[in-house]
């Protein structure tokens, strides 16, 4: 079975360093289209900007399986200018305003360098330092005379690093999934028809996935995403019982999140394949969060869906950390599970 090596790491690096704030996914879309050109049987860009690609199966009557991975990332939009290259901005996607202060950013198509600064500590009072700096006090500063315009998007200017067993980057959520899906198309299992949706605006309400699911009308769907690993020590030596996922334990299989109950047949199938193939995986703690599956499973008359995510720490911040091995196991597990899908999979009861 092909697995993820240096070529795929290079592709992940390129994708992580690209900018694709929800609604402005062009840079990632271009990379995706270039990568899958000549590999797929059909590809189109739909009305919202999703890349919808088809890799046909070899057997008649094979299941039509949708795999989705969102291309977009959280970020910023310039919304007002103070002059001298200083801009007010809004957040796009779920971000913690406490994570923005003191960061370098890239602005616009040209990746113009800029910063989000803060008042010098010398000019603050102890009382002030107990309060979060609100968004309306923050600015993106790109230097006097810089050419940016209102509506331009911005992202944290973090360059991808491969650091020992770990990957450190912005937008690992969800360039991990995008790279996995590109590789899956290049090594598509032939027992299914693979319907690949590189979606837009997941971080803005799963909008791309909704129309992609409608267009594909699949028999079942797998959302490939990235999920937080809150596996840090709890204060005071207490046991951390709210870790969501743990780095190093393999791909996270969803039973339930805030928007979807995974189809139990798909959960059972993935767990069985994990055991049979000795590919590690973990069950994500049921609870909050969500993926494209939230929109997909309600598509048309209902689509049996599952989410599989690569765990990563510090989601939606300037620098997330994932483990290379977790990503490899994710690819291997999804590939193995797809390869073992037969039309019988959905014949049984939920």
């Amino acid at each position: 079975m092909p697995t993820l090596g240096n070529t795929q790491l290079k592709l992940l690096e390129k994708l992580c360093n690209a900018m694709a704030v929800s609604g402005d996914e062009g840079e990632v879309r271009t990379i995706v289209l270039d990568e899958i050109k000549g590999v797929v049987d059909d590809v189109k860009v739909d009305a919202l900007g999703n890349v919808l690609a088809v890799k046909k199966g070899r057997s008649a009557g094979c299941l039509r399986v949708m795999l989705s991975a969102h291309m977009d990332e959280v970020g910023f939009m310039l919304v007002a200018e103070d002059g001298d290259g200083i801009f007010r901005f809004e957040m796009v996607g779920g971000m913690d305003v406490r994570q923005l202060v003191g960061k370098p950013v890239w602005v616009g198509k040209g990746h113009l360098p800029g910063v989000i600064g803060a008042r010098p500590i010398h000019l603050t009072t102890p009382e002030e330092r107990k309060k979060t700096i609100p968004l309306d006090a923050l600015r993106i500063d790109i230097g006097p005379g810089a050419k940016a315009k209102l509506g331009d998007r911005a992202v944290f200017a973090t360059r991808f690093q491969h650091n020992g067993p770990s990957l450190v980057a912005k937008a690992l959520d969800n360039r991990l999934g995008v790279t996995t899906l590109i590789e899956m198309l290049k090594n598509a299992p032939t027992n299914i028809e693979l319907l690949a949706a590189f979606t837009v605006q997941e971080e803005n309400g799963l909008r791309g996935a909704k129309v992609a699911a409608h267009a594909f009308d699949p028999d079942l769907a797998i959302a490939m995403d990235s999920t937080p690993a809150n596996d840090l020590p709890a204060w005071g030596g207490e046991e951390n019982v709210a870790y969501n996922t743990i780095l190093g334990l393999g791909p996270a299989i969803y039973v339930a999140d805030s928007s979807t109950f995974s189809d139990p047949r798909l959960v059972r199938h993935f767990l069985a394949v994990s055991e049979a193939e000795k590919i590690p995986c973990q069950l994500r703690q049921p609870g909050g969060g969500g993926t494209d599956a939230g929109a997909i499973h309600k598509g048309r008359a209902g689509i049996p869906s599952l989410s599989v995510s690569v765990p990563h720490r510090y989601s939606h911040t300037a620098a997330s950390i994932a483990r290379l091995d977790d990503w490899r196991h994710t690819y291997n597990l999804v590939h193995a599970a797809l390869s073992r899908i037969t039309p019988n999979l959905l014949a049984g009861e939920r």
Partner: protein, 357 residues
């Protein structure tokens, strides 16, 4: 003359936290070596370079002091492979979550630089009430992404942690970096020394890169004592106008260095430098420090029997964050202004430094 920008970027990329200045000191040493007649390190690690003047000995001397140390963090403990940290110098904990840092690990067989990220733990892992507002520094964690056992092997309590952001040029000849406070002043002093290569000057010039300014002006006191100059000019960064900073304490970025006045400053020295700037039409701003200038001049002024002191400021935005900004022109102007002032110092200048005319 070698270019300024690559040197400045080297300075900005080097560690050199207060008390641990060696990495940056050696970069400065290499650049200053051909520019001075003598070069040495003080008892506490400050760098002293001497350019001899042409007046007959004993000559008066002027010290230009720029601190080379930087703020940062220090490891206080290791827990489950994560590091806890405290600050070295003034660090607002609100700028820390999500920062890329470098841990200078000394626990292994040889010192090692580890890339890491500062983590703000989720609310559920913090004591009640701490989840919403800024998370105090003692609750933050530093994550190297390495397995826990490896971290325990490599990192020791007391290891230093610096910001890892690399210098970047913004539009409008503005540079961004995390140690522009005060490496931009070191660069200005270097420009001054380079200018003096082609100028005659009567006075001895002590070019000094001090240590531990951020933690207690240690270099400011000790270098002023050891060198005992007739006059002292301290170059340090000052608050530039910009987002979050607009009151009377701020000066525009890119409109020249500031000349500071107040109880820390000898008024005749202030006037002397101002006259040079006016004569040569070097743009400058005026800065008022009604009490403590917050610089090495606070130390130098009261060393031994007292040293007439002056502070030049380089306006800097977002001080003590990893994204400090400075206009490169302001660095060049500060360097040139000092060189012009020094070249104009007559052997009897000290007679003119009088309080009441």
């Amino acid at each position: 003359m070698p270019e300024l920008l690559p040197f400045l970027k080297d300075l900005l990329s080097a560690p050199g936290l207060s008390g641990y200045e060696n990495p940056v000191a050696s970069i400065i040493e290499a650049r200053w070596k051909p520019l001075v007649h003598e070069l040495s390190r003080s008892n506490v690690g400050s760098l002293h370079g001497l350019r001899q003047g042409r007046a007959p000995a004993p000559r008066p001397s002027i010290m230009i002091a720029t601190h080379m140390d930087a703020i940062g963090l220090m490891v206080t403990g290791v827990i489950d492979g994560f590091l806890r940290v405290t600050s070295v110098g003034g660090v607002d904990a609100r700028v820390l979550p999500g920062q890329l840092v470098t841990v200078y690990a000394t626990g292994g067989t040889e010192p090692k630089s580890l890339s890491a990220v500062i983590a703000q733990p989720p609310a559920r892992l913090l004591p009640p009430g701490l989840g919403d507002g800024p998370v105090p520094m003692e609750y933050l964690l530093v994550d190297t992404g390495l397995p826990a056992r490896k971290v325990t092997d490599l990192v020791r309590t007391g290891d230093i942690v610096s910001y890892a952001s690399t210098p970047v040029e913004l539009a409008g000849e503005v540079i961004c970096g995390h140690t522009l406070d005060n490496r931009s002043s070191v660069a200005a002093l270097t420009i001054c020394l380079e200018e003096l290569q082609t100028r005659q000057h009567a006075w001895d010039v002590w070019a000094v890169a001090t240590v531990q300014e951020e933690t207690g002006l240690t270099g400011g006191y000790t270098s002023a004592y050891q060198l005992h100059p007739s006059l002292a000019i301290v170059v340090d960064v000052t608050f530039a106008k910009g987002p979050g900073a607009s009151d009377w304490q701020t000066s525009p970025m890119g409109k020249g260095p500031t000349l500071c006045m107040g109880p820390n400053i000898h008024p005749a020295l202030y006037e002397g430098i101002k006259q040079v700037a006016d004569r040569l039409e070097i743009p400058y701003g005026l800065e008022y420090a009604p009490r403590h200038t917050g610089t090495d001049a606070f130390a130098a002024q009261v060393v031994a029997e007292g040293i007439p002191s002056m502070v030049l400021g380089i306006p800097l935005r977002y001080m003590h964050t990893p994204v400090e900004l400075v206009a490169i022109k302001d660095i060049q102007r500060a360097g040139r202004l000092m060189a012009e002032f020094i070249a104009g110092l007559a052997p009897d200048y000290m007679d003119k430094i009088v309080w009441d005319k």
